[in-house]
Symmetry: C2
Subunit: 330 residues, 2 copies
């Protein structure tokens, strides 16, 4: 990635709440951005992207829209912002668009997706990213960015070994910053992922069980206590993977959640729209890492089981068809 | 209770799915039965009780209906079949209707209610009963008995010490049998209560979380596995209270649940009707007994917390008002 900024190309795989927003910000800043779309392809090809944002609304009347990666040019940065339930597609989607000197930037929650990407492109070309943003796709090519927006990036290494701050990371950070995206770096991707799970596991999971927003949960003494207990289990899981998350993080996150505007988690929104839930990366993989490290996290396991049941009932999936669907989901 | 059968009187406190059915059976068999009613009082006083039953439909055009215990005669048998959420009323309801030589028969699920009744009437006058029945109140004074119907009775003793089979128990059994109610006796009330909780804790609790009937739960591999895990915790709780429930009971109950017609648990029905859930006797008390015996049951604790949250959200109870309501509930 040593080209001049003006000539550096980004591919956005998954032009939704995250990919649509960050891709639009990059294009607005002058980067060449190429968007992969599915259901919104026709609309965006003709009318571009509309971003309603607390940082300022803007409209990109013309964007490079594609319905297949085979039509896209190779890019120095490939931003993966698909729903994690689509991750089984990544081995087919990434290689055709990734330039020889390019990097993959995985903007997803959860754990355990980078190893699969690294298998096809090499660990040194995989960057993990965590988005701290409240954003929704509210219509075709129409993104609504409500609050926050920062990104945390970290270099992936084999078995999630900490890689420190690499020049590649700093290059992507510089591009994102130039596009007005507050971007920080972490020397240890696994630490960053576990730390975000401290919030995502309880609040995404319980928001589906309770059909409640963050404010309803944090205001209820039992929901809050349960979230805290689940947070402690996430911290235990991280510790088993040799990542020491300070205890103070839990209290801090609870306080922050209290102060947040009422927020429907992405998992709750998926549930409401009867879309599959992102259970693999946010629940199954962390549980597997913890188990391989020799510990059980009974409450997270229970919540995971409950979510699998609720997901199935929600989408009316007959039990006999489930094993197959699960495989498809990856 | 040495009177002739014909002159033996029963009071029924709570003329709903259980009290209405068993009380009607007793009256049909010739016992003098006195029914306490609340919302259905006027209707039942004028039109009696209608029982639609898989054992044969019948109608009692005239019953002794009361809206206050102060109007009722004292009775040799006082059947308590209120919702457990009404139990705070028992100290006022029972003494006025209990004859000097009478017994209280508590037909409720869960654990830990007899000690409170024993405080006001004496342990030797308290019998615990568990109903294995599928029955609903479908309208004022209208009971629909769908399946099963047997009752298990056991004598309460201080701290739930096993009392064996007492003459009092045999007397009540004889009356119930005479009324066509299959009635068996247990020498150990606490054992009987824990054993029923092995089913009630998972299936009542999860039916609310999943908004599902027994068939949907037992057919789903994760719901079934979760139920089984919860059952094991109930068995652990019982063991901590020195009641050894054979492991085979779990497999047996799962198999029976598979064979049952799809069944909405009573807790799910309460939830649908936005009535308070019977959490005290079925969750809080068993957890307290286990905790006092020195063990934690993390998954049951988690399910209990979830149900408290769901109950509150379901009834739109502001969190600030909750502590007070909880006290009212007993």
């Amino acid at each position: 990635m040593s080209l001049l900024p003006e000539t550096r190309r980004y591919a956005v795989l998954g032009t939704g709440a995250l990919g649509g927003f960050y891709g639009a910000k990059l294009q607005q800043a002058g980067f060449a951005v190429h968007f992969l779309l599915h259901s919104d392809y026709e609309h965006v090809r003709q009318k571009g992207l509309r971003v309603q944002s607390c940082w300022g609304d803007f409209h990109l009347p013309q964007v490079n829209a594609y319905s297949s990666v085979l039509d896209m040019p190779v890019c120095e940065g490939v931003i993966v912002a698909l729903k994690a339930t689509q991750n089984a597609l990544l081995p087919q989607l990434i290689p055709p668009v990734l330039a020889e000197n390019g990097v993959v930037i995985l903007l997803q929650n959860g754990l355990g997706v980078e190893p699969e990407i690294a298998e096809s492109v090499g660990a040194e070309r995989v960057i993990g990213g965590l988005c701290f943003i409240s954003s929704n796709k509210v219509g075709p090519g129409h993104i609504h960015h409500l609050d926050y927006g920062s990104v945390l990036l970290a270099q992936y290494g084999p078995d999630y070994a900490a890689q420190g701050i690499t020049p590649r990371l700093e290059q992507v950070q510089a591009d994102f910053q130039r596009a007005g995206i507050p971007t920080s770096l972490s020397p240890d991707l696994m630490m960053a992922r576990w730390q975000k799970l401290v919030w995502n596991i309880p609040f995404n999971g319980l928001s589906v069980v309770f059909n409640a927003d963050t404010q309803q949960m944090i205001a209820d003494p039992d929901a809050r206590a349960l979230a805290e207990t689940l947070m402690r289990e996430v911290v235990e899981g991280a510790a088993a993977c040799h990542r020491q998350i300070p205890d103070a993080v839990i209290g801090q996150m609870l306080t922050n959640t209290e102060k947040m505007a009422p927020y429907r988690t992405s998992m709750k929104i998926d549930y409401e729209r009867k879309r599959p839930l992102e259970l693999q990366a946010i629940f199954a993989n962390p549980l597997r890492y913890a188990q391989q490290a020799g510990i059980h996290l009974p409450r997270i396991e229970m919540l995971y089981r409950q979510l699998q049941v609720l997901d199935r009932l929600n989408r009316g999936i007959p039990v006999s068809g489930w094993d197959q669907l699960k495989q498809e989901e990856g």
